[in-house]
Each structure stands twice: as C-alpha cells, then as structure tokens.
Subunit: 240 residues, 2 copies
DNA sequence: CAAAACAACTTGTATGTACAAGTAATAATC
DNA sequence: GATTATTACTTGTACATACAAGTTGTTTTG
C-alpha cells in the first residue's frame, strides 16, 4: 500500500492549465498567451516558475516565444519527428482521403503486434480498426490500429475528427502523443495487402510497426502500416 | 559596419565548455559530470545558470540526469529520433562491422541524391565514399555518402574513428548532427545492390535517402542507404 | 552481524530580485 | 509631416537563497 504522494508541482499545474486551454481552443493557434507576469499574478508565483512551465510547452511544441512580444500558440505535431507520407497533412497538392475499412470492434490482441504488451493490456480487451489512406483516389497506406479498452473508452468511427484518430484524442479527450517506437521493414506484399492497396502480390511494401506512447498513463496505441512507396515516399524529419 | 556584439552568455560558455569536453572524451561516455555546485565554483556563478546549461545539454542528448546522483554522459544519437539498425551501436548481442567498399574520392555530384543541393554545394567538388555494414558477418546495409569539399576537408577512411564517420566529425572536428530529413521507400534490389548485400535481385529492400544538417554552417551530409531488413529491422524512436 | 539512523552528498523545486534587450505605440522634436 | 526619443510593455539573463527529495556510505543501535 503506497501513499501515492502527488506533490502537485506548481510548474506542472501551470503547464497543464495552459496546455488544456490550448487543446480546447481557449488559447487558439496563432494567438498570444497572457504575459509571464500576468500568469504569475494569476497563480501567485514567480516568473522563474512560470518560465519553467512555458519552457516545457515550448519543448513539447505547443508554443513559440518571441522576444519582446510574447508566447504564441502554434500548430503542434508538425515539428515532431513523426513518419509521415510525403504530401500528407498540410499539402494542398494532393487530395488525401481516409476510409475506415474495418470499423472499431472489440477483439483479442493480435500477435502481429511487434511490441511486448504490458500486463494491464494483456488482461484488457482490445479495440481494433483498420483504415486505408488514399491519395488522389489511389490507396497508399493500409493501417491497422489497436488499443486497450481499459485505457481508453470505445470510440466509434463517426466520432473521428476529420477522419483522424489522433485529432480525436487531442481535441475530444485531451490526450497527446508523447513519443513513439517504430520498426521498419521492406517486405513483399501479401495477398490481402496487395488486394487492399491494388498492387501485385510480392511487390515491395514498407511495413511499419509502431507503438505510440501517450500522455494518458497506461495508454499505448499500436499500429501496423503497409505503405506503397512507389509514388509517395515516407518522410521523416527531426531537429534539435 | 556592425559592432558584432557577442554578449557571451554565461550559460552558453558553460554549455560549450562541457560539450567540448564530452566530444573530446575528457568527460567519457558513462562517466558523471562534476556536480552542479562544483561547476558553479569553477565558473563563479550560481546553480540557476549552471542548470540552464545542463538543461540544454540534456535536450541535445549529451547527458542524462539522475536525481540524487548526478549528470551522466550518454551515447548521443540514440536518443535522437535517428533511424538505426536494430542491434546496432550499444548492443553486444551482435558483432557489427563496417567495411569501406569505396574509399573517399572526389567526384561529380551524383544525381541520385534526393534533395536539392545548395548553390555553394553545386559549385563545390564532392567527396564520395561507400560502406557496407555487416552484422555477424552478413551484409545488412549498403551506404553511399556525399559531402561538399568546400564545407569540409577531405577525410581519408583510415582517419575514421571506429569506422564511424559521425564519430570522426564529432571527436576530431567538433561537428554535431543537428537534424535530418529522410525519405523512405521500399524497392526491389537492383543487380548491384543485390550483389553487395548477397541477396537475390528483386528482393524487397528499404531505401533511405537522407540529408543530415550539421552544426557547421554550409555542411550537409547526404546519404543513400539500402537496407536488407529481413533479419534486422530499422528502428526509430522519439520522445518529448 | 544485521538493521536502522545519520551525515554528506547529489539533483529538484521555488521564491525574490535586478537589470538587459527586444517590441510597439505614443510623445517630442526638427 | 517625418524622424527621433520616450515610455511601457514584453521576454532574456543572472544573481542569491532556501528547502525538498533522492542516493550513498558511515555510524550507531539493537
């Protein structure tokens, strides 16, 4: 039996408060946060602590700071080092379309998941769904997803914000992606994959196994992606 | 005419000092830095400033902090969001070997480079070399590399530190990787690639085009990698 | 001798203060 | 009226201090 000491660190309180207001749109993208001194007054603390909180938000990609002006809310996720299909998200050159090919349903954990499950996850039921991403009406990515029902409620496909599961998590459930582990392989297309991506069996396919870690304790998102990279390669950028 | 005010920020001085000592091996990987108070005394400053410097080094992946113990120097690059072969670097399970198959030589820029060259690079001569990475005596990665001779001197293969070009840059030239852009494709092995990786022509290969941005202005490192991922997948992790 | 208490370290959080430096709108000057 | 200076904001750097909390080795205690 542990006392579970949650020592509410002040900088975390401030950080979470601002993060929540950004996520819920109270501090919209492009706007400026209250000045550091205003935040000090509101939380009865000093600039050192407020700056600490803002530094975290800066590091997490929620804001950017402008010397002499203020802290600006920015679009998060672009700066994340995520693997993305070239032309996806943010580009107008391509028409991207997401089709839910298997609606969320409760199943047994699939052994194809390339990462060891936690004990809690093993004990829990598993939510699964499958999507296909089209670019210019051509299927490019086949995506299987799993998560633990104990860690996150059942979410129906028609609740997805703009067809995106991540956006749903962020905007409706205040859950953010904190990191990911990925394994990449080049494999020949199986019969099923070939059919869904409309290519020949045996064609080279980029297979990505991914585990996303989230801000919600115990919640991991597992993915299994099959990408036809002949037209649209996968992109990955990172900075310091 | 500008006065070029270099206001030598104190935390930057400390940061650079420690970074340099890590890069040159004076603070070896696995060792602990002097305590924050010791650094304070040495630089006649306060812990706030020292911690600021250490925070930067933490963010850049040079050290990790252990509450109550100290700041430990870690192998940089693992924490970077870089793509690495599973089992490479840091693992003792596999015997990794790097063979320079084409020694550095000056050539024309190769059009296979997937990124647009800067004007300075186009005007400059180009240094090229090719390596093969073996795991347990099996070739796994075929790697082509290019850089601009104007941006970095000619480096011979026998100058490579532990066969690693990056380690050479870091330890002998104090140049660090600041970021990268990568494009991933799954392709069938060409005749040349199949031969060098000892696989069949047409087998699926993970093709990675990469541009590394460095701390040295004007210096980009271009790479073209062919990975046999059947035994050893490519790994990629990132955090916040 | 083993367990508990202690001391001496380490990093973590927080307060309070001061001044430097960048931004933007207003007021004074030419 | 256009330029310059002032002013009132903003964030950036740095000082000094205090105590909390984790680690490790030593000393005391049972």
């Amino acid at each position: 039996m542990k006392s579970e000491k949650t020592t509410t660190k002040k900088y975390l309180t401030i950080q979470d408060y601002i993060k929540k207001r950004i996520q819920t749109g109270k501090f919209p993208v492009g706007s400026y946060l209250p000045s550091e001194n205003e935040i000090c007054n509101r939380f009865k603390t000093t600039r050192t602590t407020v700056r600490r909180a803002l530094d975290e938000l800066l590091k997490e990609g929620f804001i950017e700071k402008e010397h002499g002006r203020g802290s600006k809310v920015i679009e998060r996720g672009n700066s994340l080092g995520l693997l993305t299909v070239k032309g996806f998200s943010g580009s107008i050159d391509y028409e991207v379309q997401t089709i839910v090919t298997t609606h969320p349903k409760i199943i047994k954990w699939d052994p194809v998941i390339a990462f060891p499950l936690t004990n809690d996850e093993k004990k829990s039921q598993c939510v699964y769904f499958q999507r296909v991403r089209n670019i210019n009406n051509l299927p490019v990515v086949l995506e299987n997803n799993w998560y633990s029902l104990d860690a996150l409620q059942f979410i129906k496909a028609d609740e997805f914000v703009e067809g995106s599961f991540f956006k749903t998590l962020s905007q409706k459930h205040l859950i953010e992606i904190m990191g990911a582990d990925q394994e990449l392989r080049s494999i020949p297309a199986s019969k099923e994959v070939a059919k869904k991506l409309q290519i020949k069996i045996g064609n080279p396919i980029l297979h990505i196994s991914v585990r996303f870690r989230t801000s919600k304790p115990g919640l991991n998102l597992y993915g299994d992606l099959y990408c036809n990279t002949t037209e649209y390669p996968i992109r990955n950028s990172f900075f310091l």
